[in-house]
Structure formats: C-alpha cells, structure tokens
C-alpha cells in the first residue's frame, strides 16, 4: 500500500547494568523510553537506565492499535493528550527517525440519541479546550469514510460522529525504536531481559531495585509497567487502584487502500484503521475478568467482528490474519495515575488502560519533568494517586469507556 522504511540492524546500544543510576525506569515500553529520552533532552539527566523484563517494546507498545487523538471530554485529559498530539506532529523530525505518523482523522460514531448528545457536548468541550473537533451528520460521515454503512436500517444506525481531523495513526514499533535510539544516543542505558524482582529500601525510602541481572541502585525508581504495575507495587506494599485485563486486537490480510481514516464506535465496540502496509487493524473491548495472560477469549473477537462487518459491509470477505492480546491496567475513572506515591524515591506512571499509546510523547515529557523536579508537571498534576482519597476523579468513561 505504501512505503515502509527499512530498519538498520542495530538501532540502540545494548548496555550492561551499572551498579547505580540517578534514575531507573522500570518498563521498556513506549512510555518508559519516551520518559528516558525527555529526561536526557529536557533536563540533562543522562544517568538513566530503562529496565525491560522482556525485549524492548514487546508488550503493549507492540500490541496497541496505534490510534492517536486528543478529543477527550475533560480539560485535564484534553490537556495531556493534546500536549502529546502536538509533540506527535513534530516527533519524526525530533527523533530523526521515521514513525509514519499519519493524520488521517478519527471518527467517533454515535448510535443513539444519548450518544449524539454526548458527542455534541464533547465537540463543544474540545473546542473550548483548544482541540480540533467537528460534529458530522451521517452523510458527512459517509463523505469522510465512504465504506461506513450509514443506512438507517442498521440495528445500531450511525446517527452522527465526532471528527478530529488531526488524529490518526503511527507505526508503534518504529516509535519505540526511535525513542530508544535517541535516548541511547544521549547516554541512556537500555537494558533488556532484566526483570525487577524486588525493591531495596532504607528508612522507608526506595534506594534501588533487585533484578534478574543483579542489584541496581537509584535515586529515583520510576515505574512505567502498564499491566504489571500492580505486581511491582505489591512488592513495595503500595496499593494502587488498578485491575489488569486482556485487551485483544487483530489484523486482516493485506488489502488495497479501502479505509481512509480511523473509525471508532463505543456502542458496538469496535475501532478500525488500515495500516500502512494494507492490513485492517481492529481492536475490541477488554475481556471482563482480570487477566495477566496475553490472550483473550474468542467470543470477544467474534462480537467485535460482527460489529465491524455490520458497520463496514466491505470487510465481509476479508480474512483474519492474526489476533493477540495485551495486558492493560484499568483505573476506576478510566484516567491515568502519574506522579508521587507517598514513598520517597518511587514514582508511578500507570492506569492508562486501553489508551496509553497516543499519550507516549506527552507522558514521556511530563513524567520526565515530574521525576526531575520531584513535583508533578502541571499537565499530570490532576492525575495523582491521591485523587482516590480526595475524590477529585477525572471521570473519562464518557470518552474512554471503550478500548481505544
């Protein structure tokens, strides 16, 4: 379909762990790598290690459906996701690395009068927050994406959609490699196959981690482990309001260009785009029960495909090439948890649930600031862990209840 650049044999330096670092980031996914990069770039902190228990970006960073948008309902969310979107817009030049960011627009379909009201409200909220947003009627939806079935005969007809033209997709593994290379070039140590098995503490303060490759001291340990955050937090006695679930996605065989944008539907639970090589990329909702198994149930996929074929009759003859699952960390208000933990020397970045990929550069920027200053960046200040004590939730189920 379109050109996909060749990769060099080695993109980043593989490092042996040193005894001690200023900052140890636990989790070598997109967020951890972006955080390391911005620690070096924005704050001059290069004595940094990124520890990854598997291979680099082999977790959710390679399993998400690559959708990027910032049209969230609440100002706090729009703030951090729009910051991310602005960074996405110049990220390829910033990293000097192809990431295939394509601003092909994102449609969020409405299938009921209530969804129409919610969508219109969100468009107005987005405009007030400086986020590009439009409300489209069904005929305008068909103009943006001609393969969407806008017939009123559908069981859940398309009654309209919100549209964010600046939204789109990027090639997620290239994003990880781009951040890894740029961070590595600035002096960050990227250490794969290094699983954290415990924390070293002195007088309550976290002073390092125990790993499968030895003990590593740190002034600050910054968790960035998505679905495995609870496992790490349990080691240090920190209770975090997260539940881990499997989230599935799939790709079809390669097709000629048929799908020009990104379409998401909360009501029928599917979201789909067409990747650069030509495969349709579709995501489902989470499997209901807690899970650390990177695979989900077939009936969830079946339901997702039924929804996809009803919305896109042209997909009926496509074949499923591959399905997979990732472990997502869902918080009670569908918003992330970022910042201080109440334990000296330990920072947290988690709770992005089903939508963390789009935030990658934005949270890297803000988490790096939080680590460097020991205080939250203004854009992640609303997302503290203690909001579950104060009650100041950022209830994003309106924009994020479906996997995204």
């Amino acid at each position: 379909m379109s050109w996909v650049p060749e990769q060099p044999d080695r993109v980043w330096r593989s490092a042996e762990p040193k005894r001690r670092y200023q900052v140890v980031i636990v989790g070598g996914g997109g967020h951890g790598l972006a955080t390391a990069y911005y620690l070096a770039r924005n704050h001059g902190i290069t004595d940094v290690a990124v520890l990854e228990r598997g291979w680099l970006a082999g977790g959710n960073m390679a399993r998400n459906t690559t959708i990027i948008r910032s049209n969230y309902l609440w100002e706090a969310s729009a703030g951090i996701y729009e910051h991310a979107l602005k960074l996405w817009e110049s990220l390829e030049a910033e990293l000097g690395y192809p990431i295939l960011f394509s601003q092909r627009g994102v449609l969020n379909l409405a299938h009921s009068p209530q969804e129409v009201r919610d969508g219109m409200r969100r468009v107005q909220a987005n405009l007030l927050a400086g986020v590009d947003a439009q409300w489209l009627d069904p005929m305008e939806v068909a103009e943006v994406c001609p393969i969407v079935n806008v017939s009123p005969q559908l069981r859940y007809p398309v009654l309209g959609a919100t549209y964010q033209p600046r939204g789109g997709i990027a090639k997620h593994d290239y994003v990880a490699w781009g951040f890894a290379r740029a961070a590595s070039d600035l002096g960050v140590d990227i250490i794969e196959h290094c699983e954290v098995t415990g924390f070293d503490r002195r007088d309550g303060r976290v002073i390092g981690v125990r790993t499968t490759r030895g003990e590593i001291g740190a002034q600050t340990v910054a968790l960035s482990a998505a679905g495995h955050t609870s496992v790490l937090a349990d080691m240090v006695g920190l209770r975090v309001p997260l539940q881990s679930h499997a989230l599935q996605a799939l790709v079809s065989d390669l097709l000629l260009p048929v799908h020009p944008t990104v379409v998401m539907s909360n009501a029928v639970h599917v979201y789909v785009s067409q990747a650069h090589k030509g495969e349709l990329v579709m995501g489902a909702g989470i499997d209901a029960h807690n899970s650390y198994s990177q695979r989900g149930a077939v009936h969830v996929i079946e339901r997702q495909l039924a929804a996809a074929v009803e919305l896109f009759p042209v997909f009926a003859r496509a074949h499923v090439l591959r399905t997979w699952g990732g472990i997502v960390d869902v918080s009670p208000d569908a918003s992330p948890i970022v910042g201080l933990t109440g334990i000296e020397g330990l920072m947290i970045n988690c709770g992005w649930g089903t939508g963390g990929f789009k935030a990658t550069p934005g949270i890297g920027w803000c988490y790096a600031h939080t680590i460097a200053h020991g205080q939250p960046h203004p854009l992640n200040a609303p997302f503290t862990l203690d909001r579950f004590t104060t009650g100041a939730l950022v209830d994003e189920h309106g924009a994020a209840a479906v996997a995204h």
């Binding site: 495995h228 609870s230 496992v231 349990d234 209770r239 975090v240 309001p241 997260l242 539940q243 881990s244 209901a288 029960h289 807690n290 899970s291 650390y292 198994s293 149930a297 077939v298 009936h299 009670p332 579950f388 004590t389 104060t390 009650g391």
Partner: protein, 82 residues
C-alpha cells in the same frame, strides 16, 4: 473460552457468566468512622494478583445465582472456592 463450574448448574461456557471482581470485600461495619483514605481504599482498591484470585461470578444466563471461585489470572484455570 473458559469453562466455569456453577455450583448449581455444573460446567458451562464463560459467556453464560457475569464477572463480579474480587470476592470477600465486605461493606465497612461503620463507614462513618473511616478516614478518607480508608473509604477510598474500600471504594477503589481491589487485589490484582498475577496468580490465584478469589473472585465472584454470577451465572446470569442460567440460574442467576452468585458464587465464588479461585481462578489463576495467568493460566485461567478455575477451581472451586476453598
């Protein structure tokens, strides 16, 4: 697809059941005496182990009764409440 054994109806497909999360979370005896932190913990924090979780399911496409099982969150192996 998991097969879950309902104590009353026997082994059935996962699709017949509704998930109820962690088992054994009691409503506080006297909520008024809890601190904000304790109340927040009761409302929002549940166990999230990588391993065996004691949890609630409802057989909502069958007898509609609630019951508890122990299920491994990695292997998805389901055993009866112990």
């Amino acid at each position: 697809m998991m097969i879950i054994t309902c104590p009353w109806c026997g082994p059935r497909n996962e699709t017949e059941f509704h998930y109820g999360g962690e088992a054994g979370v009691a409503y506080p005896a006297d909520p008024g005496v809890l601190s904000d932190e304790e109340w927040g913990r009761f409302l929002f924090v549940r166990s999230n182990p990588k391993g065996v979780l004691h949890e609630r399911w409802s057989h909502n496409a069958g007898c509609r009764r609630w019951f508890s099982v122990h299920r491994d969150t990695v292997t998805h192996e389901v055993g009866p409440a112990r």
